[in-house]
């Protein structure tokens, strides 16, 4: 009987869970359109100084990416064993390192456009995939998928998947491998990322 009851509860939770999970596809797509348009028009193709571009990119990055959410995922099991200070430090250096490395790549995106190819539902509650393609001069277009999370009507990017490669998974595999081998654990990773963001 108890088993049956927990079964009923599970089914109920699943049902309500998936009802909550409905993300408005049109709104999610419009959100990514806004992000990419702003990135291309106001940063990549704009005629401002490199410093101004970097500053604008940092704003865009902080505004549209949920880095607390991503950072927590990326640390994997080590998130729970880290102190609150380490967690905070990690999110900070992870943010800085990302802004730094992406800023260097603006030129690669010059003249590129995003073609929207609809959305795909996700198994994670409150999340959806927005599919885009970037036409290339040579060969097939690059497939870029944006994982979008909606919280109380607010949209954030939580992952970018380029040609089937998830940036969140890649970072997670890399960072957990690093921590496992580093004698200083999470602190070793934080120090290395800080060095990378200051280069």
């Amino acid at each position: 009987m108890q088993k049956f009851l927990s079964f009923v509860v599970a089914v109920f939770l699943l049902a309500t869970g998936s009802a909550q999970a409905e993300v408005n596809a049109q709104q999610a797509e419009d959100f990514i359109k806004q992000v990419t348009t702003q990135g291309i028009e106001e940063i990549i193709n704009s005629d401002v100084s490199i410093e101004e571009k970097d500053a604008r990119f940092a704003d865009l990055f902080n505004k549209y990416l949920d880095l607390d959410f991503i950072g927590r995922f990326v640390l994997g099991r080590y998130w729970r064993t880290s102190t609150p200070e380490q967690q905070k430090e990690f999110i900070n250096v992870y943010r800085e390192m990302n802004i730094k490395t992406w800023s260097k790549r603006f030129d690669e995106f010059k003249g590129k456009t995003f073609v929207f190819k609809g959305t795909t539902p996700s198994n994670s509650a409150g999340q959806i995939f927005v599919n885009t393609e970037v036409p290339m001069e040579q060969g097939a277009p690059a497939k870029v998928v944006w994982r979008v999370k909606e919280t109380k009507g607010e949209f954030k990017v939580v992952d970018i998947i380029i040609e089937n490669v998830s940036l969140a998974i890649t970072a997670r595999n890399e960072y957990t491998a690093y921590i496992k081998k580093s004698p200083d654990g999470v602190d070793g990773l934080i120090a290395n990322l800080r060095q990378k963001s200051q280069q």
Partner: protein
């Protein structure tokens, strides 16, 4: 003696390279880590090879060529892949696509000036890329374990098998066996070298920016390589038209079971 010198150099450079990302020595004691020990050593060897050999060569190559020329080189070698696309599209029952591959090869080899221009795409015949790797995936051949090949880089047994099979379908290979002439053999070797120098030159920026943001470049490459291969997984179980299973739709929460599975 010369040979011994080279072998000694290779062994020494492998030993010197076998370090952890933080610079500490890696121990090969752990049975489980032996494969990774080899992989990291070979990865570091390839890394040094790229840095010391490929990079300067690509730099010189870029100096004497322009983007237009490099695009023609890319298109020329892409065209030579069409016979492999044809065969694999056929194997996978994509009859229409295999027809397109034949049409593209004939058109581009002639009107497209030996494949240096993709005129077929201009007439609506878009490239239908395919590979023996994908054919095997469709027939549920397992991928096998990840490993690093000398020079070539990240690989799996199925990846290597597919790559080898596709090479047999290339006109470059036909030239190698059909014509009894050392001049032709040398030309094929030269062409293959040009292919990889061109490929490296065109992707150098991408490789470098990947590395710039990475604390453990080996782990990054391995993760990216294996994720990219996940695109073939659904071919086996459900057939090509099923797009329901997204390999990157992992549970983006924080449960423990997922942690174990991922690491």
């Amino acid at each position: 003696m010369k040979k011994f010198g080279l072998t000694a150099f290779l062994i020494l450079s492998l030993a010197a390279c076998a370090t952890n990302p933080d610079g500490s020595k890696l121990s090969a004691d752990d049975e489980e880590s032996k494969v990774e020990y080899y992989n990291r050593a070979m990865f570091n060897f390839n890394y040094q090879f790229n840095k010391k050999v490929m990079k300067p060569v690509a730099k010189g190559y870029k100096k004497i060529t322009n983007q237009f020329f490099r695009d023609r080189v890319s298109a020329f070698f892409d065209n030579l892949e069409e016979p492999a696309y044809f065969i694999n599209n056929l194997f996978q029952g994509e009859i229409k696509n295999s027809g397109i591959s034949v049409g593209r090869f004939l058109l581009n080899s002639t009107l497209g000036l030996a494949g240096t221009f993709d005129v077929a795409a201009g007439w609506g015949l878009e490239k239908k890329k395919n590979s023996f790797d994908q054919t095997m995936a469709k027939y549920c051949v397992p991928d096998g374990p990840f490993f690093i090949l000398p020079i070539v880089g990240p690989a799996t047994p199925r990846y290597v098998a597919g790559w080898t099979a596709d090479a047999y379908a290339s006109p470059l290979f036909w030239a190698l066996i059909d014509v009894e002439d050392d001049g032709v053999d040398a030309a094929v070797v030269g062409a293959t070298a040009l292919k990889y120098i061109n490929l490296y030159a065109e992707n150098e920026g991408l490789i470098e920016s990947l590395e710039a943001g990475s604390v453990d470049f080996y782990a990054t490459m391995k993760s990216a390589f294996l994720q990219n291969r996940q695109k073939f997984v659904s071919l086996c179980a459900q057939g090509a038209d099923d797009e329901e299973t997204l390999s990157y739709d992992f549970d983006f929460g924080y449960d423990d079971a997922f942690d174990e599975e991922m690491e």
